[in-house]
Symmetry: C2
Amino acid sequence: MSKKTSAPVDLEKMRHSCAHVLAQAVLSMFPEAKLGFGPAIENGFYYDFELPRTLIPEDLPLIEKKMKHIVKQNQKFSHKELPVDEAKKYLKKINQDYKIEAVKDLAEKDIKTIQFFENIDQKGEGTFVDMCEGPHVEGTQKIKAFKLTSIAGAYWKGSEKNPMLQRIYGVCFENQDDLNAYLKQVEEAKKRDHRKLGKELELFTFDEEVGAGLPLWLPNGTIIADALEDLAKEKEDAQGYKRVRSPHIAKDALYHRSGHLPYYEDSMFPSMDLDNEKYYLKAMNCPHHHKIYAATPKSYKDLPLRLSEYGHCYRYEDSGALFGLMRVRSMAMNDAHIYCTEEQFEEEFGKVIELYLMYFEIFGIEKYEMRLSKHVKEGLGKKYVDNEKLWIKTEDLVRKVLKKLKVPFVEAEDEAAFYGPKIDVQVWSVIGREFTLSTNQLDFAVPLRFDLKYIDKDGKEKTPICIHRAPLSTHERMIGFLIEHYAGAFPAWLAPRQVAFLPVAEVHEEYAREKLDEFLKAGVRAEIMPADDTLGKRIREAEMKKITYMIVIGDKEVEGKSLGVRDYKTKEQNSHKADKFLKDLLKEIKERK
Amino acid sequence: MSKKTSAPVDLEKMRHSCAHVLAQAVLSMFPEAKLGFGPAIENGFYYDFELPRTLIPEDLPLIEKKMKHIVKQNQKFSHKELPVDEAKKYLKKINQDYKIEAVKDLAEKDIKTIQFFENIDQKGEGTFVDMCEGPHVEGTQKIKAFKLTSIAGAYWKGSEKNPMLQRIYGVCFENQDDLNAYLKQVEEAKKRDHRKLGKELELFTFDEEVGAGLPLWLPNGTIIADALEDLAKEKEDAQGYKRVRSPHIAKDALYHRSGHLPYYEDSMFPSMDLDNEKYYLKAMNCPHHHKIYAATPKSYKDLPLRLSEYGHCYRYEDSGALFGLMRVRSMAMNDAHIYCTEEQFEEEFGKVIELYLMYFEIFGIEKYEMRLSKHVKEGLGKKYVDNEKLWIKTEDLVRKVLKKLKVPFVEAEDEAAFYGPKIDVQVWSVIGREFTLSTNQLDFAVPLRFDLKYIDKDGKEKTPICIHRAPLSTHERMIGFLIEHYAGAFPAWLAPRQVAFLPVAEVHEEYAREKLDEFLKAGVRAEIMPADDTLGKRIREAEMKKITYMIVIGDKEVEGKSLGVRDYKTKEQNSHKADKFLKDLLKEIKERK
């Protein structure tokens, strides 16, 4: 949360000033309040306080009112500096012990002067002084649209050893429309929260005895994961990938060779010590795939070799960082490694981008961006493999492909992987939330560490380059994203429940079961909700389960050999000929519409 | 090897006597030889020796000749006993130090008299005395058919700390026909060895840096594993199974609940210690499945609930016990757990047996046997859950189903699992080798430990029983078996390479590529072997790769729009209309013929 935000400078200032005004408002209500930190953050700001009582949600509108009052007065922000000792004296005088500690911390970093901002009202009088680096807007009236959103506990300086303070969060935007749009998106995102829907739709679960961050996929979630794997298989088969399977563990020797040990050790599960050797859960599939490449001799005729596997990896995340499916410790990755010559890279990388675009179209992802992370010259031989020519060449190649395919992208200096340029893929859900989907890497260094070879046309041994790619991300992240994106109402090809038959009365059940059998035989995920509850109750239940098509069977349907179909998404109800509807549904599923 | 064999008593005696005669023969060639142990084993016998020189394979026929000479003389086996001290004195006299040590070991176990057997020739004179428990045949002429097969090193008493002796192996049968059949089977099994064929056909590999017993599936092997999973999905879907996915690790708490810890700990990988908790690689999928059952409330309407997963388990096997794919440390299991009421058990268990029979038919497995392992009364409350009524009831139920389905089975007392009767499934490959395929268990105890519940019709909470089953075994064991069973020439639906097009000359390549495209589009695993090598060389290569159908394209085929198809298995070559052949092939694949 404390990382630098990417907001424009004015908005960043506005958020800082909001935090400042928040502190001023709280102090006016609780003169004995002690102030902690109060930074600008993404979309807003927060401030930490030690208060004589615990805040309740009802306090927020009152504090907000005080803030609005201050904003209206258009108080000016006036900057001043004090030497460390004077700063401490002043803070002592106004009883701000946490701020004194903050000054001491700064002094230890050899900082000599401390920054303060004072509010000056229209009469030219100071109303509130806060120790703060700024920058601030000129006057409070520049604060255009803000709202306090929540209260939380937060340890002073983030450490459990320190006292717990009370944190007030707020959001701040350039205008009321942006604020409203944001609040609406938050509200919508809450409804679409993958943890909430995951439970309601019985997609996945976590279990205390299994362990945190280790999702168990229930039958409904497994259907979605299987459908995604079928999609990957179909598209990868068409591009000539070959599937492989590798174990989930390996000896430390493998990870010393790959370089994951010791550099990546903190993100790996600890070792299992067996027969005087150390085994590790794999955090990545590449080392195993490199071994599969190396298992049989290769010639230029074997390249490009595209090895794919939905490989299950295990990564250590701090338990505090775990979040539903989005931040987990076990993940099934749509992984593949493409081994090719330098000459083949452009075409191969282009095909990977085409896969992404194909998937974006299938999922209706309209907004996406790729971020090309590059080397810098000064890092060669340190952070980056020392081959400037190859860096420039491969970065050019990647850029060329992205331009050719008209993919929106930005470039970032000095953020490449050790072994080559990296491409991060961001997507936005239908309600405008941003997700990091996956990372692709061009790797011209590790194949050498694994001694990977092919015999070229000229009879000489050469080392291939390797593309690491995972367009469908991990099941965890992808399904987490899709739950929000579709608000749990998946298109038929992904929907765990595609069809429910609802006979109006018992007398209609025979025809309903006859149709059910036909649908099941055709491979449709269909069920029946027999007439032992009222139709209304059953319709509500089917709605809650977000079943794609609800098929009501009454007298009219039995007589006319038809189906009364209600579409979950459009809420439209139409009569269809039974055969025609099944045929159309199968087409819809097959074409992933 | 030293476990009790299941041979009939006479054959068992014959094998003991063979070992005895082997020692006699070796001593006659090397009077300074010191004797180790020489037991009867499955199919034969061995004897360990300390010899003045290393044996070479050429020694075996000479030793065999000596043995045959002794056998012909029809020397009688005469039993005698000596008290421990006299036995030691005698062995000291004939310089058999290892035997003296063996006597000491016996004396420590409080054995007072030592058994010897002496050969008596036709003149009534003793020719050779061996310390040995017997039993032996009456005279050497009763030894009907034997052969020495190999030489190996073996530590005295199996410990690396002791001297290395030389072991001679032999086989022994009741008649020459049985011996010949056995030797032929061994020869054939060598050709079909899954380790040899697995390498030649590029199915799987092991890697030192990944670790022993951890197979990596190459693209060709992955095709077979995928085809087996497709088979399982199809048949399990038809029986109403629901697929789930679970992580490969869990906290120790889960395995304490399941009872795997501490009782099964030796067969598990050691723990990973993380955040003050212990995590273990799963050795079984059941605890995870139980948690999935428990994740949502269940009623009698939800039963039977059949949760299936090709789950990857990890088990510790001593490195010396590892053997190709047959004995591994990581395995992908065709696992499922069926939760049902007692009333539903018979039908559910019957369906499991039906799955087995269906698979046996698909794979052409003609000989199989199930072994019903039962409780004994004395073990109740100790080795076995203390509910005699339920034991008898469930054993009866299992027996009834096996009889009803006319499945060949034997019964074994006192070999059940802790929580219910167990059924081991043995199959015989086409050349008559026996494989243990899998184990099914009826579990009426563990669901209780997991507090699994369903609300019955009467509104009361009840605990389901659970069937553990894995008809397709693990990929490792199943594919190992199938490689031998098919001698690597898989039926089309399993074959990694289904079709190869061989244009006779460059001029035929266009038509060949046109057909290749058609086959690929139809989903056939087809490839082309272009005319840049002689046709003969390419045919040999396709034969080596055991490609199911080799399609030669020459003038005749181009003109007649036909295909010259050579069937790998029958070696027949026939001309087919292209469309007709593709259609037939797709049918053959779909129907798994």
